[in-house]
């Protein structure tokens, strides 16, 4: 008898409990729509010799499947010793999207919150100089455009680290700060003329 009483009280409660709550759950077996991935897959470095702009080269750091998975493909930057002064321009792309998303214009528009830093490995520091050419409205460097000056004609190997910082929570200064959006290192080969 006691069990009958219990069942009489419990059953309706259980049915309501089960019925109402089952509707509050999404099905894990169904894929949810993906939100856009804010991904930089590709850093393009375009260089051309400043005197005549005849020799234009494009080098890339490319990681199409994003962090993890396949390792990124990284080109070696080549500079011919025939020209002492080269111009360098950066482009940031998301090639995982169709069509490819170009992020460079956005960075230029938000120049007050971005800055690119170039860092040469010790082997190159005496023979290569990099100067950033573009600035934001406050007069601080932006760094999407730069000039590479070679000092000497001998062959050298080294690397160039390119970092893009995003100053969101803290004010932009001439120092690296905020959050690192891009941090890539290219091998560099300076070829004798």
């Amino acid at each position: 008898m006691r069990f009958q009483k219990l069942n009489a009280g419990l059953l309706p409660a259980v049915v309501v409990f089960w019925g109402v709550l089952a509707g509050c759950e999404k099905n894990p077996a169904e894929a949810q729509p993906e939100n856009p991935q804010e991904l930089i897959t590709t850093v393009l470095v375009r260089v051309w010799d400043e005197p005549d702009s005849v020799h234009t080269h494009t080098f890339a750091f490319r990681d199409l499947d994003g962090p993890g998975g396949q390792p990124p493909l990284v080109d070696t930057l080549h500079f011919h010793g025939h020209a002492q002064s080269w111009r360098l321009s950066l482009e940031f792309l998301n090639e995982a999207k169709e069509p490819t998303d170009t992020l460079t214009a956005e960075i230029r528009r938000e120049a007050e919150a971005h800055q690119v830093f170039y860092e040469l490995s010790p082997e190159l520091q005496s023979s290569v100089r990099i100067e950033r050419l573009d600035r934001d409205r406050n007069g601080l460097p932006l760094g999407l455009q730069a000039r590479v000056t070679l000092q000497g004609y001998e062959e050298r190997h080294g690397s160039l680290r390119i970092r893009l910082f995003h100053y969101d929570a803290e004010p932009k200064t001439e120092q690296p700060g905020g959050e690192t959006d891009v941090d890539v290192t290219f091998p560099v080969h300076i070829m004798p003329d």
Binding site: L21, A29, I40, R163, H166, P176
Partner: protein, 763 residues
């Protein structure tokens, strides 16, 4: 209105050779039980709350003289002197209109107690202690107990750590229902406001037989106020102010009953600004938190009780802006700076990065007394944990930012259905036998920009049996459990939807033996348990921004297996109580994230690679607890914990093991002075040893430190109501220190001096 107390002495045979127990049965003059009354037994400083039958049990008390304080709503506080010789039932009949008896002499009676399945007795934080030390988080409250610490991420997020284990190894129960949330993350704390906590019980060692693989390290039970069937409206208002982050908190508890229905409602709200350290403010550590609970109880016939509970929790927790890292260079820059890189004036604003955490819980419970001293309980639960984590990072493109910028980086919803049936009946030969069946269904859906945890659905079926026996001075407990788990995982791989399935089964067992003498007892036990790998351990693949590491799961991980042994010794007198436990955990397979010794290259730089692996590991330590009455008004309490954990293969330290700690407290309490009842003052010293530096850590482990805390307070009766006042100062000397168990340790010092004021008005 005063209080009239009738004492009924129940004399009987004393067959117990063990230390005596004291059972208090509280009722009003009409014989209605008074649940939820708070009892405090001095000088042992043991607390208890009466259950729904108005009963409370103090176990294993040394023979001697005690002072028992009874505080029941509507009756005002009262103190008794109890001469305890043997097992005793003390029946207190409360009625308005007369005076308390000053002294009670009692005789013995045999009491059957609930068997405890842990090798060492469970730790208990009594209501009075909870009232005095109730902090900002559940974890902070638990730090009062030996062997417990917290893994914190700023002031609002503190994960309880028991003997160096947390998350998927440590279960948190609210009342009788496990709290199911996203426990895998170091910055994911239990979804509970400490204002709704009445008392806490910690099952240490392992609770794998009682609760299965989620409780390999033990279980923390958050005990609510018991529901009453007494007519009338009762309530309590709790208010708190905390200076270190300009925090205000308010809690309201209301209770009433009519006929065969009883109800209880608890509301709480909390709002805090950025926290202050001796080295400055921590930007964006503001938070707010709201919770509500409604409980209903219905007496069905004489033997059946039905209960229902709806509980809601909603919090926005700011994450310290200075610890948001793009890559390893950001971390190195923050380490070099030596002070928080992001500064802002103190604010209540919560900006990205922050967490929005919502938890909804519904519980139905049926309890039934059956013939032949059997008891059956059914607990059904539904709960949904919805966690959204917002990144500080902006979209590159303004139009994308406008469209999707408000979307969280992580958006995970975990829904859990659970059903537990427990039958308790007279055991084989003697004692009580418990039989448990557990069923659980758990589904997870990920919707954020990043899918760190894939979608999954799991089913669990488990069964357990345990029994306690007594032979003279010996006590033995044996428990067995088996579980089967089915898991399906769905992931998005190369733009297709891929399903993986797993099936695991495993067993847990424990044996414990205890021998008692008049003033000593010794215990020894062994236990084994297991847990399946979590979905994160199987499928993690991404950058952990707070730690600047790249974590990769292993979809072929085997289940974790644990063997543990524990030895315990307790000594009692009527003025002193000491308790020590030494334990050894041997994991033939310990699942964890370990450095792989290589870097992974991404467009944001190189990150150290950590892989989830199963490695043999050892965890060992000692906990000791001593409390005694130096003078009738002065009590000394001491706690010490030493813990070491290492990988068995190469002997390297396990990450996240709390350093050794010693806590000493002097507590003075005086007689009631005019309006102020039970006044007290206490001074606490906490000494923490330097932590072991884990391999491949970015910075040496922080040095040791010494902290001082102080508290004073008392109770003011206001008619039949009472007002409790507590003033507490933490980090009294505003010491700048870094905690090895804080995820902010690379970037900032822990909070500085904090003055808290706590008021609770009961009527």
């Amino acid at each position: 209105m005063g209080m009239h107390v009738l004492v009924v002495l129940c004399a009987g045979l004393s067959a117990a050779m063990a230390l005596p127990r004291l059972e208090v049965r509280l009722s009003d003059s009409a014989g209605t039980p008074i649940p939820g009354a708070r009892l405090l037994l001095e000088p042992l400083h043991q607390g208890a709350i009466t259950n729904r039958d108005g009963h409370a049990l103090f176990r294993e008390l040394p023979v001697g003289e005690y002072r028992l304080t009874v505080r029941a709503l509507g009756y005002g506080p009262a103190e008794y002197v109890v001469h305890l010789r043997r097992d005793t039932v003390l029946q207190l009949v409360l009625a308005p209109g007369a005076v308390a008896l000053p002294e009670v002499a009692v005789e013995g009676n045999r009491i059957s107690g609930e068997p405890t399945l842990s090798i060492s007795p469970p730790l208990f934080l009594a209501p009075r202690e909870v009232d005095v030390h109730r902090g900002q988080t559940l974890g902070e409250l638990l730090r009062q107990l030996p062997g417990l610490s917290t893994l914190s991420t700023g002031p609002a997020i503190a994960k309880p750590v028991l003997r160096g284990m947390t998350g998927e190894r440590l279960l948190v129960l609210t009342d009788k229902l496990p709290l199911y949330g996203q426990v895998w993350g170091a910055e994911h704390a239990p979804e509970l406001d400490p204002l709704v906590v009445e008392a806490l019980q910690v099952l240490r060692g392992t609770a794998a037989v009682e609760y299965g693989s989620d409780a390999l390290a033990g279980a923390i039970r958050v005990i609510p106020k018991p529901l009453s069937m007494q007519p009338g409206l009762r309530g309590e208002l709790r208010a708190e102010g905390i200076s270190v982050n300009r925090q205000g908190a308010l809690g309201l508890w209301l209770e009433g009953a009519r006929g065969k229905w009883g109800w209880q409602m608890v509301l709480s709200a909390r709002k805090a600004a950025d926290v202050e350290t001796p080295q400055g403010l921590l930007a964006n550590t503001a938070f707010d938190q709201y919770s509500a609970a409604l409980r209903l109880q219905h007496q069905l016939g004489v033997h059946t009780l039905l209960r229902g509970r709806l509980q809601l929790y909603d919090a926005r927790l700011g994450i310290f802006a200075g610890m948001h890292l793009g890559n390893l260079s950001d971390l190195e820059r923050a380490l070099r700076a030596g002070r928080p890189l992001v500064q802002r004036p103190r604010s209540y604003a919560i900006e990205p990065p922050y967490q929005r955490v919502r938890h909804r819980l519904l519980e139905l419970t049926a309890e039934q007394e059956l013939p032949s001293e059997r008891r059956w309980e059914l607990v059904m639960g539904w709960q949904q944990s919805w966690r959204q984590e917002y990144d500080a990072h902006r979209f590159w493109n303004d139009s994308l930012q406008a469209l999707f910028g408000a979307r969280p980086a992580y958006d995970v919803t975990l829904t859990t259905w659970s059903l537990r049936s427990e039958l308790e009946q007279p055991g084989l030969f003697s004692g009580r036998l418990h039989a448990v069946v557990d069923l659980r269904r758990q589904g997870n859906v990920s919707e954020g920009v990043q899918r760190f945890v894939p979608n999954f659905l799991s089913y669990l079926l488990g069964g357990a049996l345990w029994q306690e026996w007594f032979w003279g001075r010996w006590r033995a407990v044996v428990g067995l459990r088996g579980d089967g788990i089915w898991l399906s995982v769905w992931r998005s791989v190369a733009q297709s939807w891929r399903k993986s399935s797993y099936r695991w089964s495993g067993g847990a067992a424990m044996v414990s033996l205890q021998r008692k003498w008049l003033r000593w007892d010794a215990r020894a036990g062994i236990a084994t348990g297991w847990r399946p790998p979590t979905v994160v351990e199987l499928y993690a693949n991404g950058v952990h921004h707070g730690a600047a590491i790249f974590e990769v799961g292993d979809s072929t991980l085997p289940p974790e297996r644990l063997w543990m042994a524990e030895l315990g010794l307790s000594a009692h007198s009527s003025r002193w109580h000491g308790d020590a436990a030494a334990f050894l955990y041997w994991f033939p397979r310990f699942l964890g994230s370990f450095p792989a010794g290589e870097l992974i290259l991404t467009v944001r730089g190189a990150f150290p690679l950590f892989r989830y692996r199963a490695v043999p590991a050892v965890l060992t330590g000692v906990e000791a607890n001593l409390q005694g009455e130096l003078l009738p008004w002065l009590r000394l309490e001491g706690q010490a914990t030493v813990l070491r954990g290492w990988e068995a293969e190469d002997g390297t330290s396990l990450y996240g093991i709390p350093p050794a700690q010693l806590r000493l407290r002097v507590h003075a309490h005086g007689p009631s002075v005019s309006l102020l009842h039970l006044p007290f003052a206490e001074l606490t010293m906490t000494a923490v040893a330097p932590a072991a530096t884990a391999p491949h850590d970015y910075a040496p482990a922080p040095p040791g430190y010494l902290l001082w805390d102080a508290a004073l307070g008392g109770t003011i009766p206001l008619g039949v109501t009472e007002l409790m006042l507590v003033l507490e100062a933490q980090n009294l000397f505003n010491r700048a220190y870094h905690s090895a168990m804080s995820r902010l340790r690379y970037f900032a010092a822990e909070p500085g001096r904090s003055i808290s004021v706590r008021l609770s008005w009961r009527w």
